[in-house]
């Protein structure tokens, strides 16, 4: 079945309801981004998600959408709590994969000539790459605490300050976590990976604030031109993968009981109001909390490394958490639907929450301007900080894009980069990069991703979030 898209306006494309679709699909994209969105495959995945029971209003795709498995990457779908489902594949393997932005009191000038040393120190001190182990080996009892308490566990152990919790989405702790819902295999994989970056597209990047678009919001977030910042992208490591895989297997096995005909087995799901659905949510919350504790520990290690490498006191460095967002998650949130406020289970797979000014979930300092939305680009492209909007709250269940989104497969990128020295090319642009994996730099080459500026412009013009600041990359470590 081929899918025809109807242009609604400059940035929205409709997939009309047909066949087993329960609702229509909407893609947020420019003509150019649409071409890069995986063609028929990406659109078909948006249509496939629309087959799931209890889906509310639309199956959505954000501007960085591309072909995934089951759900597209950049997919957003909300489900009715009584009639709807939860889908482990709709959350993704890396549960609560997310980003965290830290600001410092330093400027780019302060690290001039010391950048290579700083990146090397980070590469040495922050565990990254396949099979890396973290600074602690958790006892079974401690690990259960991590799964229930999230970032707060890390802060209580001395990794950071209580204020960090305030500027983390959901306070860095998802309610309803039950370690008994997590398999022994997942627990085993989680025991020694806390405080590790991981491999693939995960990274830690030193950036400088280059341009401010919204001075009021930037001031609220504590961002000023020339300021040195750090962006971290990581998730729940092997524990999250195992939780997803365990429940995916379970739901595929019992798929027949639901009497559903799914267009893709990867969409396997369970009713939200069922034992299996609730058990997955309890396990997913554990993985989400693990991811928050992980990023909290990564931030702490980064802070220590900066202090040591630059010979600064904590006060002189002044590294502070701007915000932490998750972009692979299912959450119970309230939204206006047909004039009523309804509690729904929102799946965001490669999508970021974008809550508007005044929302009670935001810390007091950010409430007047909206939630900080962190959008990392490809290696060397830097990042954007945006703010959540009323429009996203009304139209996309408070969601926006999560990154540039791939346009080349890893194999294509490896081929396209043959004969080139990606690390040297970046160095020529003044960006110092170190990677643990041999093939990582080529697979993650800048051309493998969509143009970050274009993705963010579409998100801004479509009203899904508004531009606050752009950050330029100075140095990066990759797994």
């Amino acid at each position: 079945m081929s899918i025809t898209l109807q242009k609604l306006d400059e940035h929205r494309w409709l997939i009309p309801q047909s066949g087993g679709m329960r609702v229509p699909g909407i893609l947020y994209a420019s003509e150019r981004l649409l071409k890069e969105a995986g063609g028929q495959e990406g659109a078909r995945q948006v249509a496939n998600v629309a087959h799931l029971p209890g889906i509310v209003r639309h199956s959505l795709a954000m501007p960085d959408m591309h072909w995934g498995y089951g759900f597209p990457i950049g997919g957003v779908a909300a489900f009715d709590l009584d009639q709807g489902i939860v889908s482990p594949g709709g959350v993704g393997y890396d549960i609560n994969c997310g980003c965290r932005l830290m600001a410092t009191r330093l400027t780019a000038e302060d690290v001039r000539g010391r950048l290579a040393d700083l990146v090397a120190a980070l590469f040495r001190d922050v565990p990254s790459g396949v099979g890396s182990r973290g600074p602690v080996k958790l006892s079974a009892k401690e690990e259960r605490k991590v799964l229930v308490e999230g970032s707060a566990w890390a802060v209580a152990q001395g990794y950071g300050a209580a204020g960090d919790l305030e500027t983390t989405e959901d306070g860095g702790r998802m309610a309803g976590a039950d370690p008994d819902a997590v398999s022994d295999r997942a627990l085993e994989r989680g025991r020694d990976q806390l405080g590790t970056l991981g491999s693939g597209n995960h990274f830690l990047e030193i950036e400088v604030v280059e341009e401010i678009f919204d001075p009021v919001a930037a001031a609220a977030f504590g961002l000023a031109p020339g300021q040195l910042c750090v962006m971290i992208h990581s998730g729940s490591r092997g524990l999250g993968y195992q939780v997803c895989d365990d429940y995916l297997a379970r739901m595929v096995k019992h798929a027949g009981e639901l009497g559903l005909k799914l267009p893709d087995r990867q969409l396997a799901c369970a009713p939200l109001a069922s034992g299996r659905g609730r058990e997955y949510l309890a396990a997913m919350a554990c993985a989400a909390n693990y991811a928050w504790a992980n990023r909290q520990m990564l931030m702490h290690r980064t802070r220590e490394t900066f202090e040591k490498a630059l010979g600064l006191s904590p006060r002189e460095l002044g590294m502070r958490l701007v915000y932490d967002v998750c972009h692979n998650i299912a959450k119970m949130e309230e939204f206006p639907v047909e004039g009523r406020t309804v509690r729904l289970c929102v799946h965001r797979k490669g999508a970021t929450r974008s809550f508007p000014p005044g929302h009670p979930a935001l810390p007091a300092a950010y409430r007047p301007v909206g939630q900080p939305v962190l959008i990392p680009g490809d290696m060397g492209a830097g990042s954007y900080v945006l703010a959540g909007t009323e429009h996203a709250y009304a139209e996309t269940f408070g969601s926006t894009c999560h990154g540039a989104g791939r346009v080349m497969s890893r194999t294509q990128a490896t081929k396209a980069s043959r004969g080139r020295a990606i690390g040297r090319e970046l160095a020529d642009r003044g960006i110092v990069v170190m990677a643990a994996g041999k093939g990582t730099l080529r697979e993650e080459m800048p051309e493998a991703y969509k143009d970050l500026d274009e993705v963010v412009d579409v998100a801004d013009r479509a009203g899904l979030s508004r531009k606050v600041a752009r950050l330029r990359a100075l140095g990066c470590i990759k797994g």
Binding site: G38, E41, H66, W67, G68, Y69, G70, I73, G89, Y93, D94, G129, V130, G131, V182, S183, D184, R185, A186, E188, R189, S199, G200, G238, Y241, Q242, V243, C244, D245, D246, Y247, L248, A249, R250, V252, K253, H254, G256, E257, D264, R265, Q266, A268, R406, V407, M408, S409, R410, T411, Q412, G437, K438, G439, E443
Partner: protein
């Protein structure tokens, strides 16, 4: 030597593989996964892991099989150089009702055991994976395959034997 090739999938890694018969096809898939992850000639056959998996159909059996193999690496740090597979007959009553041995972990048990599941798995596989523990100084990792998915999963018989297709998360 078992045969495979990779195909393009934007976010991830697709693998096409072939085999003379179904067991050979599964062995090709196992080879592909570890050949893509590491330089296999450097992996020695020092130890073997035996395991049994079941599945609702051939495709499900393949995913559960590769899941177990990935767990050997991701969970246990064990690199597989070679994997020998025996697949039970689809219709044979004894393979249908025989419960699979219990592997480690609650979630995993659910994934692999026939036990008292409401729909009895139709397919059963015995595997013997030979290899050695991952040693970062001797084993160079290429791509870390983190999970296998059901998306676009396919197994079919061809005039020349069997062909399979799977998309992995990397």
């Amino acid at each position: 030597m078992p045969r495979y090739e990779v195909f393009d999938h934007t976010a991830d890694l697709g693998i096409l593989f072939e085999g003379r018969d179904l067991a050979d096809l599964f062995e090709s898939a196992a080879f592909a996964v570890f050949d893509l992850m590491t330089e296999l000639p450097a992996v020695e056959e020092r130890r073997t892991h035996r395991f049994v998996v079941t599945g609702g159909d051939r495709e499900d059996l393949l995913v559960n099989f590769l899941r177990e193999l990935l767990y050997l690496f991701n969970g246990r740090g064990f690199l597989v150089r070679r994997c020998a597979v025996r697949i039970g007959d689809a219709g044979a009553p004894e393979t249908r009702s025989r419960p699979a041995p219990v592997a480690a972990g609650r979630g995993a048990v659910e994934a692999v055991s026939a036990g008292s599941a409401p729909v009895p798995p139709q397919w059963r596989l015995e595997a013997e994976a030979a290899g050695e523990p991952f040693a970062p100084d001797r084993h160079r990792m290429k791509t870390e395959i983190k999970a296998v998915t059901y998306h676009g999963l396919e197994i079919r018989e061809t005039p020349a034997g069997w062909r399979g297709r799977i998309v992995c998360d990397v």
